[in-house]
Symmetry: C2
Subunit: 459 residues, 2 copies
């Protein structure tokens, strides 16, 4: 292995170097993300309107567009030590395999039982729920990473945990359920007959494989109907991006130690939790004019909210019980084709990232899943880690950028987010190995149809 002087394969921060505050990128945005609207009145939601759904402290964080640094409570910093710091890895073996002059780094968030970065926000949200004296929380999960993360966090803080899991994932990932049960959670495939909205969706679309938007509706209904319960969400929301800023803060601290500055930062984008967290401090520098970075969001061609969606107010859920958010959306009724593997299946995108994209601070690209799995296998064989399909979207884009450098001879420094591992995604890998994996790109007509249902909002 040809190793750069002074650049180890992996950098771990020490316990003392771990961030003590999250970074709130909204504080540095000139154009703030648009506020959540009450779907009934069309007016910006106030804290008191959100309090039947969310924990009080999390509402505060959700609505705070001004405080740049928010202290991480000691209890959360303590449990972060269970799985943080995560390593910043120099992909020497991948560089060698590609024959590229580019220097590739990845921030690996998969070294924990949830298998992803989701635990960063789960621990925070469970802590605040417990601190408020709640009995439990409800949530939805797509690929299962968020549900697992929340189960772990609830077990750690002693909260009841009820998870609605998108049916196609529930069926493709039977062992995810057992992991969640190990941590004491209950798991229901969505849509279910446990909720009114689930029954309604099942009646309207019999045989549906489910969607995140639909599972959200069920989880919200379940939370608001039970005393002492609140709903928590693993992506999209401002609070989640705040918690996930720990990824970028650690990455930046590690880069600073090495005296390295990335040129390109790449993350996969579903609801935006990983990408938003990874880029936060770098984006902050860019917004303040202190540095420039190329920032690239990578989404599945089968669920292309940034690249083919509309920047508009939309419901956050299929059942239309949640607030309206201004975001790049494919329409709240959009459900990715059943051949779509893994996560990144949300119809919308974080309002923060949507605004930043709209304002030209980042790029977006979409990739087909067979190409994604090719990149995943190539990566696994040289770097050892078997990546999650979600993360592999970022791998694919990073490889493409590194190959461009090979053509031009440029020695660019690329950072990508390796959000997690694919150990519970082996059904999808099996399809890929057997040549049974297909791609699906929605037609313009399909997207137009699903966008036709956008709510009318006077802005």
């Amino acid at each position: 292995m040809k190793q750069d002087k002074n650049i180890p394969y992996k950098v771990y921060l020490t316990e003392e170097e771990l961030p003590k505050a999250w970074y709130n990128v909204r504080a540095d945005m000139k154009n703030k993300p648009a506020p959540l609207l009450n779907p009934g009145t069309g007016k910006p939601l106030k804290a008191e309107e959100l309090s039947p759904i969310f924990c009080d402290e999390l509402i505060k964080q959700e609505l705070d567009d001004d405080t740049a640094y928010i202290e991480i409570p000691q209890e959360i910093r303590d449990c972060y030590k269970m799985f943080r710091p995560s390593p910043l890895v120099r992909a020497y073996f991948l560089e060698e395999a590609l024959g590229t002059p580019a220097k590739i780094y990845y921030k690996f968030e998969g070294n924990n039982t949830s298998g992803s970065h989701k635990l960063n926000s789960a621990m925070a949200q469970a802590y605040y729920a417990k601190k408020q004296g709640l009995k439990g929380v409800t949530t939805e999960t797509g690929a299962g990473q968020w549900g697992t993360a929340l189960s772990m966090a609830c077990s750690f803080f002693g909260l009841d945990c009820k998870v609605y899991m998108v049916k196609v994932s529930y069926e493709q990932k039977p062992f995810r359920r057992e992991v969640m049960r190990t941590y004491g959670a209950s798991v229901t495939p969505s849509p279910s007959t446990e909720t009114e909205i689930g029954k309604k969706i099942l009646a309207e679309f019999p045989g549906t494989t489910g969607s995140l938007g639909c599972a959200i509706s069920e989880a919200v209904e379940a939370a608001t109907k039970q005393e002492g319960y609140r709903y928590v969400l693993g992506s999209v929301l401002n609070q989640v991006l705040l918690h996930q800023s720990i990824i970028g803060l650690e990455a930046k601290a590690a880069f600073d130690k090495l005296g390295v500055k990335p040129d390109i930062i790449i993350g996969c984008a579903g609801g935006g939790s990983n990408l938003g967290g990874l880029i936060s401090p770098f984006m902050g520098e860019k917004l303040r004019g202190e540095a420039d970075y190329r920032i690239i969001a990578v989404e599945p061609a089968s669920c292309p909210s940034l690249t083919r969606g509309k920047f508009a107010y939309d419901f956050c859920d299929t059942g239309k019980v949640c607030p309206l958010a201004k975001m790049y959306t494919l329409g709240s009724g959009f459900i990715p084709a059943p051949n779509h593997a893994g996560g990144l299946r949300y119809h919308g995108m974080s309002s923060i990232l949507s605004q930043l994209y709209h304002d030209g601070y980042m790029e977006a690209t979409s990739v087909c899943q067979t190409d994604v799995f090719k990149a995943a296998e190539q990566f696994a064989r040289v770097e050892g880690i078997l990546p999650a399909p979600e993360s592999s979207h970022a791998i694919k884009a990073a490889i493409d950028e590194a190959l461009k450098c090979k053509e031009t001879g440029e020695e660019k420094t690329i950072l990508f987010g390796l959000t997690g591992t694919g150990y519970f995604d082996m059904v999808a890998y099996e399809k890929f190995h057997n040549g049974e994996m297909t791609d699906y790109i929605p037609t313009d007509e399909e997207l137009a149809a699903s966008l036709a249902g956008l709510p009318a909002v006077a802005e």
Copy 2:
């Protein structure tokens, strides 16, 4: 979390601090482990007799009882960086949950896609096979960790890899196969009809769920019948314990940094690879009279080679094609009851560990699997990591020792090996959650019957 001053939750060595040589505990043993015997002649095997089966450099390591430190080639040290150093973790949360004054540490080897410590030896063995110019290697795998590790190593070094997987594990862990395929390996459930010995065993025991001993026979046959192939083994052998000494060396280096000395060292024991590796440098000090440690091997009550086996020469495999090793054995025909979950199902035990145990340098205990899974779940809920059933044997014993400290008030320092994660063991966890897991302890008569077949060897 109550944290000791100067003792972080996790210690990672830096790249410069990583061991540059393996430690060969045999060099410090007064009574060397007995040599492997040729099953035909009953005489100690010479290097040339082993060379149709094993790689040349590995034979050298296998037979070397004298060299205390053997340099780790740079290429292996490079690929170790992919998944090493592994963290030494202070189990603060477990201590708190138990209310024990004991200080519990674990060395966690599961942060890699093979999910265990097995990759330490796989990388070494694949490297030496490649260096010898071989085309490929064959092996057996029980729980699947070794097979996965070897697949990863072979993919890394560009070798063909053929894995015979104990049938019960093959069926309980379908996704393991896909992981191995991701790395380009082929996987066959054992016993199979691909080999003569497999056919023979199937004829004799139709419907058998397989055993490690039987899969070894098949893998050896497959290697010796193909030009350019050799057989590699993930446990039991001296060379494997040598490679695994990296675990103990890193643990000891981390302890030295902290200024801490463990009182009790605990490891699970199947063939002995993890236990032997973990304890090596500590055992060295003990053998040289420089320090004293209580060292405890923990084995399943359903496969109790140390606690209920006989110290004698026996075949290493069910098919009786392999050399004879002197070890604690249950008889090469012993197959654990089908309700036995996970690995630790080998009928024998590393000759090194057998000799050390025989000479009184370590203790052994056995535990029932329902208790093991209880300990696993307890551990997962407070420390976050969902452990492998194998590793959970050590967790169970560590918890028991910590609870003894609670009774006596002693502040003992306990180190245990957390060899891996249980992400591919969810069928077993599901049984446990559903209350369907049972225990099985072989009767004295059963063990006597299986020991009756020991080969007659004039020592």
